[in-house]
Symmetry: C3
Subunit: 338 residues, 3 copies
């Protein structure tokens, strides 16, 4: 990226495009504009395939509004250039049109939500930097919870597809006979659901986008989608949720974070990431239960909570007896080992 970097340095529009695309990549920890561009392509593809183009438009609007808000708030330049203020607003921008009626009120709500996501990113980052741990996508989760819960009280903000609030009930038996292709598409949907899209082609494009920047990230994402889906099947989770990839997306993010972003990939880190992935599936189920009475989705909270719990121990995962200090860059330098 040597040439592009220099060109971006000189031209303000190129620089803005570069940091915005990196923002799209940073949803999956990839500080790479090409990865970001491919991810946006995957989102557009999936949104159109689902006949919800507003989700892709919302994602781009969220990405732009969030990034511009960060610039208006005079944030740290280096962090801005890494795309760190783009990824959470992008997700807020994708979530709002996924669950709320597509009208002018929704778009106003989305813009305010995306700007707020940037404020929340700064707030949560300042708190968690105390322990050398990043905000992850929690600013998206928190802001979107507020927006969805708020929608229940506002007649003008119509709810299109939130689950009806209900008391949780123990899962019934689900007969499960998936063919192998169905299973594989469920797993790929798990990857695309990171962006609230259930489309296996999008999932495939995202894996390619990851591989361009980090083979480890692509491998871990695919492995986590497989592990999470098979575990959910084994434990007898509801087939609709499994088929839509809803047990996969948080697990995918946890595996990338624990396996190759915040730890150096080695066999101890892999075991740790495996436990983290399993725990993410349990937390996914737990939050599905806990949020049922208030009718909002978990978003990526299972990933955030699991990853925080597994990063905060500052576990020494180096296989050799010789300790290497964990790099200070844990927070800002969200670069995956390639």
């Amino acid at each position: 990226m040597k040439f592009a970097d220099t060109a971006a340095e000189r031209n303000p529009l190129l620089r803005f495009t570069d940091l915005t695309l990196r923002g799209a990549g940073q949803v999956m920890f990839m500080n790479n504009p090409v990865t970001g561009l491919l991810i946006l392509a995957a989102v557009v593809w999936g949104a159109v395939a689902e006949d919800l183009p507003q989700v892709a438009i919302g994602a781009v609007v969220g990405l732009l509004v969030g990034t511009l808000t960060a610039m208006a708030l005079k944030v740290d330049r280096d962090t801005l250039r890494q795309g760190m203020y783009g990824f959470s607003p992008l997700l807020t921008g994708a979530a709002v049109p996924t669950f709320l009626d597509n009208d002018a009120w929704m778009w106003g709500y989305l813009v305010i939500g995306a700007a707020t996501t940037t404020v929340v990113t700064l707030a949560v980052s300042n708190v968690f930097t105390t322990w050398g741990v990043p905000a992850l996508t929690f600013p998206f989760v928190l802001t979107s919870w507020f927006l969805m819960l708020g929608a229940y009280q506002f007649h003008k903000i119509g709810i299109s597809s939130l689950s009806t609030p209900a008391l949780p009930q123990p899962a019934g038996a689900t007969s499960f006979d998936m063919s192998f292709p169905e299973l594989a598409t469920s797993m790929l949907k798990g990857v695309s659901q990171v962006f609230l899209i259930g489309d296996w082609v999008s999932g495939l494009i995202i894996l390619v986008a990851l591989a361009i920047n980090s083979r480890w990230a692509a491998i871990l994402a695919a492995a986590a989608a497989v592990v999470a889906t098979l575990l959910a099947i084994a434990l007898g989770a509801h087939s609709t949720a499994i088929e839509s990839g809803l047990f996969g997306f948080s697990a995918v993010l946890t595996a990338i974070a624990l396996g190759c972003v915040f730890n150096v990939p080695n066999w101890r880190a892999m075991l740790y990431a495996l436990l983290g992935t399993v725990v993410t599936v349990v937390i996914q189920a737990a939050l599905d239960t806990a949020l049922a009475p208030i009718g909002v989705p978990t978003f990526t909270a299972p990933f955030v909570f699991a990853t925080w719990l597994f990063l905060l121990p500052k576990a020494d995962l180096v296989p050799t007896p010789h300790h290497k200090p964990i790099a200070d860059g844990v927070v800002s330098g969200r670069e995956a080992t390639s």
Copy 2:
């Protein structure tokens, strides 16, 4: 206040009266005994007008018990004298008789609650001082949530006016035809609801009390009540909640905090406070939904959460390109720019 300050210095009873009245003023960030006295007058007026004199008595009892508990715990003298240990217990003392049956059990519950609020104030302050952000009224909110939720399990603690626990439902259409005077009284009730009182005269007295100490605080309070009420109407919130001022009180506090207490008032701070006020309205609606199944009110949590999220970024809101460091006094020196 030069003379009063010196007199208070010499006479222990005067000193105690002074710091107690400042405690009443600090509910709205006003470190001023005259403002505090007027606020208490507004509370008495409103409580009598609503035929709930126990709310005013409870507020005073809470203020006294909370302040005495702080003294028994040998807290920092300067902070005590600024009234920082009075405002949250005052609110707990107003909340308990608002929602629970007026009998001897309730008064015992109130006294324990007010003393606990002071302990919680010390706890929350110690945590949030890590990030240079104050506890705000969260000690009141947390303690009162415990007291209200607890009341459901205790037959002797009778519930008089908590909402029946229910699963949330999307808001229906509400025909809305308010005359201008009705609209204006709703807004003034928004100001008085800071003290759990829905009375427009009280709201007016409080605005005067604010103006005595800080014109900016009075202007921001009035502006926030207008903005929050109009926004709630525009978004189609339930008319009963709007008419009672329930969308106003947290917004009022957020606007004062972000507009003139923790930031120097200028056009960038005003824009920031405006976004914070809008977000407070959304969080108010969100918490109304989230708390519906457990039958407790939001109290001032929307103000606390919004203000924390907007203070934690330590946003540089100085309009000129030259940076001024944010004063260290952010936490203890809760003095509004007058």
Copy 3:
């Protein structure tokens, strides 16, 4: 313990046994292997008496898995030897078979839960060390909430005895005529419920186990069980909960923590611990209400929240006017004054 300590130093198996038994003792802040052994005996007695031997087996499995996970993660040796990584997984191991069906799936779930509890212990400790306050049993509470809530979504993880999710209702009047022996057994069950066991003999054995290491701890535990039970009766709590000791266990832990572990026992500390105990009863009731719609128990959360709120103020509880600095050892040196 001089001889045992030296022997444990030399023999790895003895050392492991020693630190594991201390882990059992640390549930009640007792860094003493004999106390730990007696506590395990009490758990076995109670589990067999309740015809739920799997609860005792689960506790031991949890203790072992949690301790081994800590060793695999190369935790600090001194902290490990004090049993600080055993007590929370022990409780997770007791909780899982108490509420979930006893089959192979449950045991797998338990092992993953116990290992996760150790990771969460490291995470929570790292966060709370910022304010010189320990994680207490929160890692057990949080992990077990995830496990129980998750069970609702997994058909293979059968629920045996969680309360059916329901909206809270105000408590009705309960006629209460307990004989003195019934009252005394309820109080002793309050002690044993720390380990999710409702058996008065177990409670008695645990009091003896405490007295071996710290007379203050035994006295405070007994006193808190009495105070909490009488307060719950006075406030009109539901008789079934009182008879099962469900208002006692968190109060017992709060009283030990505030009365003799983190404060030097004196009359001011006793008053403070008394207020903390009363508040624990209120928080117990509050969380019973708050968790009703999602069908999970409070576990020891009332103890954790009350104790955090009462430790964080760093209150100066020395009766003389001369201040003594609070020892640094507050976090790691969880030794009760004997």
